[in-house]
C-alpha cells in the first residue's frame, strides 16, 4: 500500500473521476493555469484542458451559481473555494440553491455539485481567513458536509461525493495537506455518512474529525503510555451525522470527549454530546467534555493563535476530566 499525502490523495481522486466520467469538470479561482492555491489541481489544466479546468473571476457567488446551473443541466461540477471563509460570499447559492433545489422542485432536478473548500486555522492567515465554520454548513438539510481526517478517507469520500446525486461541501483542512497515510493502489470508495473507529480503546471515547482527528490520535498515543486506552472515532461526515459507532463505543466506555477546532458554542461538541445524552443517558458515568477553539476571533500572532486553537494537551486534559 502506498503512503501518500492528503494533497496527493485528493488530487488522485479528482484525476481518477475526471478520467472516469467526462461530465466531471473543475472550476474555481487559480485552479487551472496556476494549478490551485494549495496545488491540488497541478497538471490538470495540461491534461484535461481549459474546457474542463476553468479559471473563474474572484466571485464566489458566480462560481457556485454557475456550478449549480451546470449540475442542473447534467454536468458534475467540482467547484473549489480558496478558503471556506469565502463561502460566505456564496452563502445564498449554497444554502438556498444547492441545498434546496431538489426538494423545492419536487425532484425534477438534482444538483450533483461538489464544493471543495479549505477550512481551519494555524497558518497565521488572520481572523477572517482562518475560521473553522464547518458546523454552519452542517446546519442545512439538503447539503452533505464531509470533512476527512486521513488521506485514505479524503480520497474515498471525495470520489463518492463526485459520483453522488446530491450537493456536497467537501472540507479540506489547511494544515492537513502534508499529512501522510496509507492509501491502496486500487479503487478507494468510502460511504458518505458513516463514522469510523480510527483507534480502538476501552477507557474513554474521543469523538472528532478533520484536523482534530489527528490531534486526538496523538493525544490517544500519549495517554496509552500511561495505560489509558482511548477509542478515537472519526465522524468524517458532519451531515448526515452517523452516531451509531459513537453510541456503541460510549455504551462501553461511559465517558466521552468531543474535540473540534471550531468554537464551542453551538458546535459539533454540543450536537454530539446532546445526541449521546438522548440515546445513552443510562450509560453516562461522567459529564461529557468538549474541546474547542477559544471564543475569540483567531489572533494572527503565532503564539496567540496556537493558544486559541485546541491542542493535544487540551484533549489529554479533557480525558483526565472525564476519567
Amino acid at each position: 500500500m502506498a503512503i501518500i499525502t492528503m494533497r496527493e490523495a485528493i488530487s488522485q481522486a479528482l484525476w481518477e473521476e475526471m478520467e472516469r466520467d467526462e461530465r466531471v469538470f473543475i472550476l474555481g479561482e487559480e485552479v487551472g493555469v496556476w494549478g490551485g492555491t494549495y496545488a491540488v489541481t497541478k497538471g490538470f489544466f495540461d491534461r484535461f484542458g481549459a474546457e474542463r479546468v476553468r479559471d473563474t473571476p474572484i466571485a464566489e457567488g458566480v462560481i457556485i451559481g454557475a456550478a449549480n446551473g451546470a449540475a442542473m443541466a447534467g454536468l458534475k461540477p467540482v467547484a473549489e473555494l480558496m478558503t471556506i471563509n469565502f463561502a460566505f460570499m456564496a452563502m445564498d447559492q449554497i444554502v438556498n440553491h444547492s441545498a434546496k433545489l431538489r426538494a423545492m422542485f419536487g425532484g425534477q432536478f438534482t444538483v450533483p455539485i461538489v464544493i471543495r473548500a479549505v477550512s481551519g486555522g494555524g497558518r497565521q492567515l488572520g481572523a477572517t481567513h482562518s475560521q473553522t465554520p464547518d458546523v454552519i454548513f452542517a446546519h442545512f438539510p439538503g447539503l452533505k458536509v464531509i470533512a476527512p481526517g486521513t488521506p485514505h478517507d479524503a480520497k474515498g469520500l471525495l470520489k463518492a461525493a463526485i459520483r453522488g446525486q446530491d450537493p456536497v461541501l467537501f472540507i479540506e483542512h489547511a494544515t492537513l495537506y502534508q499529512t501522510r497515510g496509507e492509501v491502496p493502489e486500487e479503487e478507494v470508495l468510502e460511504p458518505i455518512g458513516v463514522s469510523k473507529v480510527q483507534r480502538p480503546g476501552r477507557d474513554v471515547t474521543i469523538v472528532s474529525y478533520s484536523k482534530m482527528l489527528q490531534v486526538s490520535l496523538q493525544a490517544a498515543e500519549r495517554l496509552a503510555q500511561e495505560g489509558i486506552e482511548a477509542e478515537v472515532i472519526d465522524l468524517r461526515t458532519l451531515r448526515p451525522l452517523d452516531m451509531e459507532p459513537v453510541i456503541e463505543s460510549f455504551k462501553r466506555t461511559n465517558r466521552a470527549v468531543i474535540a473540534e477546532e471550531g468554537w464551542r458554542s453551538y458546535g459539533i461538541g454540543a450536537e454530539v454530546s446532546a445526541r449521546i445524552y438522548e440515546a445513552a443517558l443510562d450509560y453516562v458515568d461522567a459529564p461529557i467534555q468538549r474541546v474547542a477553539q477559544k471564543e475569540v476571533p483567531l489572533p494572527y500572532n503565532r503564539e496567540l493563535e496556537q493558544m486559541a486553537l485546541p491542542q493535544v494537551e487540551d484533549v489529554i486534559q479533557a480525558v483526565r476530566e472525564v476519567l
Binding site: N254, L281, D282, Y283, V284, D285, A286
Partner: protein, 406 residues
C-alpha cells in the same frame, strides 16, 4: 405572631427526618414544651416539643412523611390569626407534604423534595438531589439492575459522585444466598449505621495503636468509691475511661478535631460519645464537656442516656455533638478489638475487658490486672506520634485514677 415548627436537625449529618406520629391535632391548645410529634431519624425516635404555647393551626406534614431538615412541619398561633400562607422565609424551605388530615397519608417511602443544604462533614450526604444521592445516570441504572441501594455506596467521583466502578465494586460483595430464611427489613438505624461505617472505612485512612494499661489502682479506686454509693449509682469502669479520655483530649487537643474540607477544626468543647448497643443497632450518647464534669455526674448522665436509648426515646441532645467516641465491649469479656471511627470525629477508643493476668514486676512474675485499649485515628488529621502521646496521657490518667477525681 404565628410560630413555625421545623424538622429539627438532630446530628451533624442529618439531612431529613420522618414524622412518625402526631400527638396533637389541629385546633388543640398546647403549652410550651408539650410533645407535638415523634420524629424518626437515622439514629433514633425523638420527640418534638412546642417551642411556644399556642393553638395548633396547621399540621403541614402527614404522618410517615419524610421531609428535609428545616422544612416546616407545623404552625402554632393564636386561634384566630390569619395564616393563609407560610410565614416569610419558610415558603422555600420545602414542598409541603400532604396535610395530616388527608385520609390517605403519603407513603413513607416517598421522600419529600429536599431543598436543605447538604449536611456538613459527610461528602456523600446530598440533601437536594433527586433520589437523595449524587450518582451518575449509569450508576443509577447499574445499582437498580443489581438491586443495590445507592445510599449504601460511597462515591469516588467528583463531589463524591457515585460512578460505575463504585457500584461494580459494591456488587462484588457476596450474593445473598437464596433459599428458605427470614427476610428482615433494613431499619433506618441499621441502614444508617451501614452507610456511615462504610463511608468511614472507605474514606478515612485509619491507623491503630494499642496499649495495655495497669488497671489495679483503677479497680481499687472504683471499689472504694462504689462502697459508699447506693445501688443504681455505682460507677463503671467505662465512666472512668470517659473521664480519662476527656482529660487526655485536653492534654493532646490534636485528636479532639475534625477534618473540615481543606482545614482541620479543633473543637473547643470536649464531648465524649459512648457507644450504646440498642435493639437492632448502635447509638452514641454524648457526654458534653466531659473534661470539666465531675466523674459522678458523668456516670449519672450516661446511665440516664443509656436508659433512654434502650427505650428508643433519646433526646436530640443525647446523640449529637460528640467530638470523640469510646466504644467499650469489656462487659462482654472481649480482650481487645478495633473500632471504626465515627465521622466526622478524628479518633475512637476501643476498650476491652479487665483481665487478671501474670505481669512482670521488678523482674518477678506477679498477678496483675490489665486493660487493653486500641485507638483508631484518622491519618488525615493526626499521626502516630501524636496518637501515641494521647495514649500516654490516657495511661497516666488511668494508672493514677485519683487525678480523675480532682
Amino acid at each position: 405572631m404565628a410560630e413555625t415548627i421545623a424538622m429539627p436537625k438532630l446530628g451533624f449529618d442529618m439531612a431529613e427526618g420522618t414524622l412518625v406520629r402526631w400527638l396533637k391535632r389541629e385546633g388543640e391548645t398546647v403549652q410550651k414544651g408539650e410533645v407535638l410529634a415523634e420524629i424518626e431519624t437515622d439514629k433514633a425516635t425523638v420527640e418534638v416539643e412546642a417551642s411556644v404555647a399556642g393553638t395548633i393551626r396547621r399540621l403541614i406534614v402527614a404522618e410517615r412523611s419524610t421531609v428535609p431538615v428545616g422544612a416546616p412541619i407545623a404552625i402554632l398561633g393564636t386561634p384566630d390569626e390569619p395564616i393563609d400562607v407560610l410565614p416569610a422565609g419558610q415558603a422555600a424551605a420545602g414542598e409541603p407534604a400532604p396535610r395530616a388530615a388527608s385520609p390517605a397519608p403519603a407513603p413513607a417511602t416517598t421522600p419529600a423534595v429536599g431543598t436543605s443544604p447538604p449536611a456538613g462533614g459527610d461528602p456523600t450526604a446530598s440533601g437536594n438531589l433527586t433520589g437523595g444521592v449524587r450518582a451518575s445516570p449509569l450508576a443509577h441504572r447499574l445499582a437498580s439492575e443489581r438491586g443495590l441501594d445507592l445510599k449504601a455506596i460511597a462515591g469516588s467521583g467528583p463531589a463524591g459522585r457515585i460512578v460505575k466502578k463504585d457500584v461494580l465494586g459494591a456488587s462484588l460483595a457476596p450474593a445473598v444466598p437464596s433459599g428458605p430464611g427470614e427476610t428482615l427489613p433494613l431499619t433506618r438505624l441499621r441502614s444508617a449505621i451501614g452507610r456511615r461505617m462504610l463511608a468511614s472505612k472507605q474514606q478515612i485512612p485509619h491507623f491503630y495503636l494499642s496499649i495495655d494499661v495497669d488497671a489495679e489502682r483503677l479497680a481499687d479506686t472504683r471499689e472504694q468509691l462504689n462502697s459508699s454509693q447506693p445501688e443504681g449509682s455505682k460507677l463503671s469502669i467505662n465512666d472512668f475511661i470517659v473521664k480519662a479520655s476527656a482529660l487526655a483530649l485536653r492534654d493532646v487537643p490534636g485528636l479532639n478535631a475534625s477534618l473540615a474540607g481543606d482545614s482541620i477544626l479543633r473543637h473547643a468543647q470536649v464531648n465524649v460519645g459512648v457507644a450504646v448497643a440498642v435493639e437492632d443497632g448502635l447509638l452514641t450518647v454524648v457526654v458534653r464537656d466531659a473534661d470539666t464534669r465531675p466523674l459522678l455526674a458523668i456516670g449519672q448522665e450516661i446511665r440516664e442516656m443509656v436508659g433512654r436509648a434502650r427505650q428508643g426515646r433519646v433526646r436530640p441532645e443525647d446523640v449529637e455533638g460528640s467530638t470523640f467516641t469510646v466504644s467499650n465491649l469489656g462487659m462482654f469479656e472481649i480482650d481487645h478489638f478495633i473500632a471504626i471511627i465515627n465521622p466526622p470525629e478524628a479518633a475512637i477508643l476501643a476498650v476491652g475487658s479487665l483481665r487478671a493476668t501474670p505481669v512482670v514486676r521488678d523482674g518477678q512474675l506477679a498477678p496483675g490486672l490489665r486493660l487493653k485499649v486500641t485507638l483508631s485515628a484518622d491519618h488525615r488529621v493526626t499521626d502516630g506520634a501524636e496518637a501515641a502521646r494521647w495514649l500516654q496521657a490516657l495511661r497516666s490518667r488511668l494508672e493514677h485514677p485519683l487525678s480523675l477525681l480532682l
